[in-house]
């Protein structure tokens, strides 16, 4: 796959704070690239530098081999984390407004149908629910048939149903050949949608690869989860090196048989035992919680 967006040695400072610190990566055409990180990691600043909304202090961003310019503006679709639209304007009028900005556009009726905007098409944009507004913002971001789509935490604040609907819509966009750059707090979202992820913390990129490759690279164990009532803290921490979160004991092990035998030997009830593979949530904690903040 050819590179559509190339980011090299990006630096952005706000006073004393270096929000983005020497970040480099390539985004391949047709892929979905996820930018992950805790609050304040520099994700939004990075994506806004790539969108051309902010100007980097140093470093370079090339779109199809050229610096960001009019071609990029015409071909990029952008959905910010929070977006205000003009007051007193209806959903349809908003779509018409944005469609007039671009030389190439999608048919508005088609967008209305695809993103189920019909039921509130003539409603003032201020009166939309969270899910309705996100659908409208996604439709606006797609109005110019973008070759590259930026989604900054698109599902934050949405209920699980709306979130899954939006995932489905993003998959459809990707299936049509668009490249997607996504930032998110939700590891599940990144795992569901992204071909490649980059984890950021304190303005630096600390991991970058395909999700499964990253997991394989960092983990060769699984998690055995038990109720804290079944495996009391004083026993679990000493005998099984368990960690405790939200009323559960988590035992990391590379040899499940041996650990289960140990639990049986201690007469620990296993009725509520669960075994799961390590996921991006674990990787995120491992990288941002231990390595950088220790």
């Amino acid at each position: 796959m050819s590179v559509i967006l190339q980011v090299s040695n990006l630096v952005k400072r706000f006073g004393q704070l270096t929000a983005v610190n020497d970040v480099s990566f390539d985004i391949h055409q047709g892929s979905c690239f996820g930018l992950l990180g805790p609050n304040g990691a520099g994700k939004t600043t990075t994506i806004e530098l790539m969108e051309g909304i902010k100007t980097p202090d140093s470093g370079r961003i090339l779109y199809q081999g050229e610096p960001l310019g009019q071609k990029f503006r015409n071909e990029a679709g952008i959905m910010f984390q929070t977006t205000a639209l003009q007051d007193f304007v209806t959903v349809r009028e908003m779509l018409v407004l944005f469609s007039r900005f671009y030389p190439v556009t999608t048919d508005i009726d088609d967008l209305v149908e695809r993103y189920a905007l019909g039921e509130f098409l003539h409603q003032d944009t201020r009166k939309l629910s969270g899910g309705q507004k996100q659908r409208l913002l996604l439709a606006i971001a797609l109005i110019n048939q973008p070759k590259i789509l930026f989604l900054d935490e698109p599902t934050t604040g949405l209920d699980p149903q709306s979130r899954r609907n939006l995932w489905e819509q993003v998959r459809q966009v990707k299936a049509q050949g668009a490249t997607i750059l996504l930032t998110t707090h939700y590891m599940e979202e990144a795992y569901e949608l992204c071909d490649e992820i980059a984890i950021m913390d304190h303005g630096r990129m600390i991991a970058h690869d395909a999700p499964d490759t990253l997991l394989a690279k960092h983990f060769d164990d699984v998690v055995i989860q038990l109720d804290e009532k079944d495996l009391p803290r004083e026993l679990g921490e000493v005998e099984f090196m368990a960690t405790y979160r939200e009323g559960n004991a988590h035992i990391l092990t590379g040899d499940v048989n041996k650990t289960v035998e140990g639990l049986l030997a201690r007469k620990i009830p296993l009725d509520r035992l669960r075994i799961r593979a390590r996921d991006l949530e674990d990787l995120f904690l491992e990288l941002t919680g231990k390595e950088l903040r220790a």
């Binding site: 969108e51 051309g52 909304i53 902010k54 009019q70 503006r73 015409n74 990029a76 952008i78 910010f80 929070t82 977006t83 205000a84 639209l85 003009q86 007051d87 007193f88 304007v89 009028e93 018409v96 407004l97 944005f98 007039r100 900005f101 671009y102």
Partner: protein, 337 residues
Amino acid sequence: MWNRIYALFVARNTEFFRDRSSLAWSVLLPVLIIFVFAYAFTDDNPQKFKVGIVASTNSIMATQNFTSTRFIQFIEFEEVKPNLKKVERHQIDLLFDANSFSYWINQTSPNGYIVEKLLIAAFTNAPQQLQQNIVEGDEVRYLDWVIPGVLAMNIMWGALFGIGYVIVRYRKFGVLKRLRATPVTALEFLTAQVISRLWIMLAVNVVIFIGMDLVFDFRMHGSYLNLFIVFTLGCICLICCGLVVAARISSEEVANGLLNLLSWPMMFLSGVWFSLEGAHPLMQKFALVLPLTHVTEAAREIMIDGAGLVQIADHLLVLGLSSVVLLVIGAWIFRWE
């Protein structure tokens, strides 16, 4: 480019006309002000007559017979000639030069007729002969005098706040940020905002002008086209002032403070409510810096005196040049975020 400007122009107009409360205010406020002033300046003053008097220290003594008359307000002037217009417009009932014993009256003024009788009675036995001079002209009520200023002031409020406040609000809530992510340029955005605000303010002022003329039947001696040109240029100039204020600020409170800092001095020092004649020379000079002074004076000269574009060319030149300078500064320092 024009397609994008047109789209933004339409969106801004839609927003303005659907915002009923702000639309109502922009039409009703000036009408209310005019009504308040029309009644505030109705004549409940015990001093029924106004006489302008030009006199030296010596000659004033000789006029005591006349100047001690009750219920006449005597206003001292230094010269006769510049004040003859006041007799023409019925702003004073009679002008008396105590040095030459000449007086000027407007024969269409009923008050002038009465004051003339009092003047003649006061000097019946005087050694000098009073000399009558006739001045012609229609009455200019305070209302006729104040309306051009109120129309100009309405343009000022609409232009400054309509542009300044709106752009700052767009910036604060991220509307500008969203537009920046499109091919729209700063110039296209600003052009659309200026055109939208300009036509809205002119349309609102035309409605107010017609409405108030029907109610008050005020004086309009000049060309409507010339007046339209003055208000258009004035509106552009004041919009450009608003652009400069809104170029970078993202706090509505700061914008509000700055816009008030601009508008209130203009409201009181631009000669909207009272003439600046006789004011401190420094204040008069300062007033010339304010765009509203030029809009008000040019509109007044057209409406009251029927002045043509040549007579008001100095005001048009100041407004035109100021617009260009302010627009360049506004566009230069403009920030999306």
